[in-house]
């Protein structure tokens, strides 16, 4: 036991485990484990026929971590930075990955990006639809209630926050738009009534 030199005994012997579990012990020897040791020189370069690969053309100024000595020869070109979120992201890449500012600016850029696209989508034939895009229909087609009731799930405690996270900003935006429209309408009404005020 723990307070003596001996390890607590196991319930099953290796023979019993081998009989019960298909493949028990086939990788017991570390030589059979492909990632042991961690660093192993790969003589075949896994099929690569270059020492340094050809460079992918850079068609726009590609943002990169200042911890890189150069732009990597290959990179993704999905969703180039644009708009206010793009400016925030480009600014974030002035900071190294070691700086919290780098990551917090990227998180801010993500939130701004979402709003930019939500607003833009309202001007298209395919506006964002928080109902269809959250897939909540599955609650009715894939046993939403039965998957939760009577289960020992601890995530139910915070799942109630999900609708607030998704719907909250939309409700806040709708409230702000309503308040703004009301203020404009009142200002216009006041200006109109001022126009009829008698001049002395």
């Amino acid at each position: 036991m723990t307070y003596t030199p001996h390890k607590p005994p196991l319930a099953e012997s290796p023979e019993q485990l081998r009989a019960r579990i298909p493949g028990w012990g086939v990788d017991l020897d570390p030589k059979d484990r492909p990632s042991v040791p961690k660093l192993q020189f790969q003589e075949d370069f896994t099929g690569a026929h270059w020492e340094f690969p050809e460079r992918q053309p850079e068609r726009y100024p590609r943002e990169r971590s200042p911890e890189h000595g150069m732009l990597t020869p290959v990179f993704g070109t999905a969703q180039p930075p644009s708009g206010v979120s793009g400016a925030i992201r480009r600014y974030a890449y002035r900071y190294s990955e070691g700086r919290t500012a780098h990551w917090l600016l990227l998180v801010l850029g993500d939130r701004v990006d979402a709003w930019e696209h939500h607003l833009k989508s309202l001007l298209t034939l395919h506006p964002d639809n928080p109902v269809t895009e959250t897939g909540v229909k599955a609650e009715f087609t894939h046993h939403g209630l039965r998957s939760r009731v009577g289960q020992h799930r601890t995530d139910l405690k915070h799942q109630v926050l999900d609708p607030v996270i998704v719907g909250g900003p939309w409700i806040a935006a709708a409230g702000a738009a309503y308040a703004g429209a009301r203020r404009v309408s009142r200002s216009l009404a006041r200006a109109g009534s001022d126009g009829h005020r008698p001049v002395h």
């Binding site: 579990i21 059979d32 690569a48 990179f75 990551w103 696209h117 405690k157 999900d162």
Partner: protein
Amino acid sequence: MRAMVYRGPYKVRTEEKERPAIEHPNDAIVRVTLAAICGSDLHLYHGMMPDTRIGHTFGHEIIGVVDEVGSSVQNLQVGDRVMIPFNIFCGTCWYCARGLYSNCHNVNPNATAVGGIYGYSHTTGGYDGGQAEYVRVPFADVGPSRIPDWMADEDAVLLTDATATGYFGAQLGDIVQGDVVVVFGAGPVGLVAAKSAWLMGAGRVIVIDHLDHRLEKARSFAHAETYNFTEYGDIVLEMKKTTDWLGADVAIDCVGAEADGNFLQHVTSSKLKLQGGSPVALNWAIDSVRKGATISVMGAYGPLFSAVKFGDAMNKGLTIHTNQAPVKRQWPRLFEHVRNGYLKPSELVTHRIPLEHIAEGYHIFSAKLDGCIKPLVVPSAA
């Protein structure tokens, strides 16, 4: 082409997008026949990964058929049926040359702390992923492999990440014969890690989760003992009791950034994004093992800081091993295990979601509805 696109936290849809083009002589374009949603995709879906851009297509577990190749591609031909590791890697940088394909230095300009990954934000390189009809595959001579004729599609797609990662996670535990191994998380990676621990000679394998259907799978798929942590006041104490007060020899964290079990930790990370991840499972792992033990971290965490109990880890003299799995390095041995029937990845698949219903697929997986363990995505053109 049709593709899944991200529209903000908890929101995705399928929309028309331009088919990807060859951008480098060693690119290939692959027509996707089957993809999967990974547990780590949920971190993106929940808005936790910095620099996840609106319009991004997720998906890093992909198989398909080569549709077009760049001018320098030698090892693949149009029409080849291929499986694509989730790592994008060049094969010859300092890291790749030593087998650390997941740490490739030539594919991710956005960060040096992580390699390139398909459809996993700009923090991993800004590549659109494979939950779409087509995907751009950089370094086609290096990453993808032809799927062996005997291998089923559902086994192949699970070998591109979940199976390889679980198997790699068990290796990082440095398991020796007779070790007591505790696996936190009974998702696909945890289930494979638990089964792989037996292959490496473990004497006892325990899986901890809070979802009964997943623990049931841990018993049937991975032959493991299971604990639902919600049934115990203190799961760490329970691990001490069940190991005669010594603690486990090895723990494997297969949960990562959105661990449950501590409301404050979960909400500050997953909901408020104030931490890189909720390290509940990692902290339980640190406290559940014996002194001098090894912890393998397979769960994905974001780049921001997390409230990890590092003092306990230091004082206990723990060895902590981590990394994204270098998938292709695992394949030759994993192929043998699948062929011999020691590992049956396709047994983990619970849902097959048409690409057009991607929003429902993400919701089912995220809200853990309908006994979901592993959802696959079937593109319309497949």
